[in-house]
Symmetry: C2
Subunit: 131 residues, 2 copies
Amino acid sequence: MSFAIGDKFETTFIINKAVYNGFVNIFNDNNPLHTDESFALSHSFKGKVMHGNILNGFLSYFIGECLPVKNVIIHSQEIQYKNPVYLDDELVFEAVVTGIFESVAAIEFKFNFKNADNFIAAKGKFQIGLI
Amino acid sequence: MSFAIGDKFETTFIINKAVYNGFVNIFNDNNPLHTDESFALSHSFKGKVMHGNILNGFLSYFIGECLPVKNVIIHSQEIQYKNPVYLDDELVFEAVVTGIFESVAAIEFKFNFKNADNFIAAKGKFQIGLI
């Protein structure tokens, strides 16, 4: 097993224009909260709110590319959005191993994304399996 | 309130090349399970397994664009992956309103994605807030 309880990983993600425009182009979620500055401002946000599922795309990269092994598959994910994220926000991502289930070759992590003000943007957990 | 318990929504999503290539280009998750046919076959899959978080992108579209109101934001999401999905798979998505919390303007849904063989590809729940 390449993992131990408490193993911690950290990386940084930026929601730049390429990520934002790419996400909109692929998935066509043009909800005004994400695309209409005046709509977002009128609902007390500081600007267009980035799609929460962009963070799940970053999570995909973390699991697929940043772990010490490549033979992994995601079993499940949970995420709670705590604070909005905006264009060009830099997010610090942290994940910690919180469970190891050797009999089923599965590992549980808790994670969070923090924005530049050190607010939690989102947090949750996921379980991966070793294939 | 534009929602009632039991309200059901259904739509179809296809993981075509544009979606798959777009997701890889944006998020750079080139894990071999998703990009190396022989690796995927050697691990008993039928071919390259599509990224589970593509389904969360579809969920973003559903919540942002397919509901009867646009003034929504996602509070939380949970997803369990039950069966792999492959390139060009057509997925039937179904979501049902399972909870309404008027005091906090929040609505809970359960959802699933079924593939062409009527297997559950993934299922879960999410909560949205009305803004």
